[in-house]
């Protein structure tokens, strides 16, 4: 009996020491909006580009792999919508006859890049392996190497650090095909969201995205008032968004 207990304890200890990378990715995705039934929040974006600062704010609705960002400000941008529809990104601007599909290349720069990074569904798009353990700001974390599952994702490889204790992504580096760091992001989780079943989870409150190349541009995204909401699939249909 003791032997059985001992083996069982060892198995459990082994499982805790080497978690499944896919499970880690799914858990961490939830805290950035990857909830099956839906979640809503607002985000204030402050982008510093070679000394010039631009600000905008967005109302975000997300559900599973889909997301809808509606511009709240500045006033001249009101009515603009960015739709993250599975792996496609559509940009809808009032007055335009048709929505614009944002290509993978275009996702590398400007607001599309920030949206793309903040909405990346790591568990779906990347094959992860645990490559090591490191402290991030004093917090013990697993370092995962993520490789793209398909060619239509923006980044071929990502290095991703997930907190051991909280199972939340705390840092990410987005690599070029050549292996150089193109952008880097850090994540903070000061928000809480209560799910339909009563479970309460940590939710991202601040994301800082830095250009690792060039002038070192920085974008700070402040996530506010997140709340679990059920969104119909039709909300994320580009035809309905345009209407």
């Amino acid at each position: 009996m003791n032997a059985v207990l001992l083996v069982g304890s060892l198995l459990l200890a082994g499982a805790a020491a080497a978690p499944d990378a896919g499970t880690l990715l799914r858990d961490s995705d939830r805290a950035r909006g990857g909830l099956e039934r839906g979640v809503t929040w607002t985000v204030a974006v402050v982008a510093t580009d070679e000394g010039s600062v631009s600000k905008s704010s967005w109302l975000i609705r997300a559900r599973g792999n889909d997301g809808l960002a509606e511009a709240l400000g500045p006033p001249r941008r009101k009515g603009e919508v960015i739709l993250f529809n599975n792996r496609s990104i559509w940009w809808v601007k009032p007055g335009l006859r048709r929505p614009i599909s944002i290509s993978a290349r275009q996702r590398l720069q400007g607001e599309a890049a920030n949206g793309d990074i903040s909405s990346t569904n790591y568990a779906r798009d990347y094959e992860g392996t645990i490559a090591g353990e490191e402290d991030v700001n004093g917090e013990p974390s697993w370092r995962l190497d993520l490789k793209a599952r398909s060619k239509d994702v923006t980044y071929d490889r990502i290095r991703y650090w997930i907190s051991k204790k909280r199972r939340l992504g705390v840092k990410a580096e987005f690599l070029t095909v050549g292996g150089d760091v193109f952008k880097a992001a850090t994540f903070e989780y000061g928000n809480r969201v209560r799910l339909a079943g009563g479970e309460e989870i940590d939710f991202v409150s601040r994301m800082i995205i830095r250009d690792a190349m060039g002038a070192g541009n920085v974008t700070v995204l402040e996530f506010q008032a997140p709340r679990a909401e059920t969104h119909a699939a039709s909300v994320f249909n580009v035809n309905n968004v345009v209407r």
């Binding site: 631009s54 335009l96 048709r98 290509s103 035809n239 345009v242």
Partner: protein, 451 residues
């Protein structure tokens, strides 16, 4: 005519068949060199016209300092603001050597058809300047190239709502447009059902495209544009992403009043260097930090410079082959003549002719033969160029949408230069063939013949 020239003429008539063959080689070589040079010269003119007018480089282009390399990535810092544009335009308009000038804004972005988007590399142009370019008399040989492949020239749509021209590769093959205008009522605005079976037909029938860019201040900019023509870009890469629009539309799209460069079109391209020098001094005195690039600057116009270097290399290689053939023909003919006339050389030496005088006789023969042959070659070259001109031969170079004329336009320098080259070669070959023989002792010359 002196005795030496008379003797040379008489000697030439002694072996008519051989001299005829040698003369034919010189005549054909001369005609070949002149026609080859004329082809290069004619092509230079066409390529310069294409580059200066159709590719909008101007005879010279004024960029903000560093703008040639950096305006695309950092447009806010490396483009010309409104005040700089005015200063440059005023300086150019005050110069009588400048015929007209135009402002241009380069930019990149994506163009969409409602279902897919593709990157574009675009140029914003002033439509009234473009109209002037397209009707320029110098562009007559390139009318077919300048003509849109479908639709109508962009300046014809001035005053209409957001007209745009796309390259055949971008607009036709990638976005699936058929350059239709006036049928847009059939395709209502709104999202398309991109998986529907008739979506291709709907996209083809819709002249509207959506352009999205990162504005000069870094935010997203987008607008609808109406496709009025499809044009063939000069390169395969360019044809995958070419877009031309009115400057005002482009400036609205990028949310700016700046331009990438100002181009000046001159009455006479030979004034380019002088105008660039004077303009540079004038703008420096006004405190403007700009860089001025003439059309033959390899950094600003690699198309023109690269093409001319390639043509130059080919023409030089073929020209060297022709010159070698002529030199060897003359050398061969004179070597045979000297061998046959060894006894004559010995006899003349014994009668008191100096070596120098004998060498002079042979050189006069060669000069006379070369002169007559060059005259025949000149007539032949004139006849061929006139024939080509009369036949109006046209051809389609690789990557070019239309046909261009085969132009053979030798310059005066080419006529004279080729004649001088062949004359020198003929005299040199003769000197090489004759020099050793006339230096030999008289007795040996006579004995060798007797043997």
């Amino acid at each position: 005519m002196t005795g030496g020239w008379k003797l040379a003429l008489r000697n030439l008539s002694r072996n008519r068949r051989r001299n005829l063959v040698t003369g034919a080689a010189i005549a054909l070589g001369y005609a070949g060199l002149v026609l080859l040079g004329g082809y290069a010269n004619g092509n230079e003119g066409l390529i310069r016209l294409s580059s200066v007018y159709l590719q909008h480089s101007g005879h010279l282009a004024v960029y903000a300092r560093g703008g040639l390399g950096k305006a695309q990535t950092k447009p806010a810092a490396y483009t010309l603001d409104a005040a700089a544009q005015e200063e440059i335009l005023a300086a150019l308009r005050a110069d009588p050597r400048v015929e007209f000038c135009g402002r241009y804004l380069l930019g990149t972005g994506i163009a969409g058809n409602g279902c897919k988007t593709f990157p574009f590399r675009g140029l914003g142009i002033e439509l009234d300047v473009e109209r002037r370019i397209l009707s320029h008399p110098q562009l007559e040989p390139l009318r077919d190239v300048a003509r849109p492949r479908a639709g109508r020239p962009l300046p014809d749509a001035a005053g209409e709502e957001s007209p745009v021209a796309l390259s055949v590769g971008l607009g036709g093959a990638r976005l699936g447009k058929a350059a239709v205008t006036g049928r847009e009522a059939a395709v209502a605005p709104g999202a398309l059902e991109c998986e529907a079976p008739d979506v291709k037909a709907r996209i083809a029938a819709d002249p509207w495209v959506q352009l999205a860019v990162q504005t000069h201040e870094g935010s997203f900019g987008a607008m609808d544009a109406r496709l009025v023509s499809l044009f063939q870009a000069g390169t395969v890469d360019g044809d995958q992403a070419g877009l031309v629009a009115g400057l005002d539309l482009f400036q609205r799209l990028y949310d700016t009043d700046r331009v990438t460069y100002v181009a000046a079109y001159l009455h006479d391209h030979r004034d380019t260097a002088a105008v660039a020098r004077d303009l540079s001094q004038k703008l420096a005195a006004a405190g403007l930090e700009v860089s001025i690039y003439p059309y033959d600057d390899p950094k600003a116009n690699p198309y023109y410079v690269g093409t001319m270097e390639t043509i130059g290399a080919v023409v030089t290689f073929i020209g060297l082959l022709l010159a070698n053939v002529v030199a060897l023909s003359v050398l061969n003919a004179m070597t045979l003549a000297v061998l046959e006339r060894t006894r004559e050389i010995g006899t003349l030496r014994s009668l008191g002719f100096t070596r120098r005088q004998l060498l002079g006789v042979f050189l006069r023969e060669a000069a006379t033969l070369a002169g007559l042959s060059i005259a025949a070659g000149l007539v032949l070259a004139l006849a061929v160029s006139a024939g080509v001109r009369a036949a109006k031969v046209r051809f389609q170079p690789p990557g070019v949408g239309g046909t261009i004329p085969l132009v053979i336009a030798p310059s005066a320098g080419m006529w004279v230069g080729a004649a001088a080259l062949l004359l020198v070669l003929a005299l040199g070959a003769t000197w090489v063939a004759v020099r050793r023989r006339v230096r030999e002792r008289v007795a040996k010359l006579i004995v060798e013949v007797a043997a």
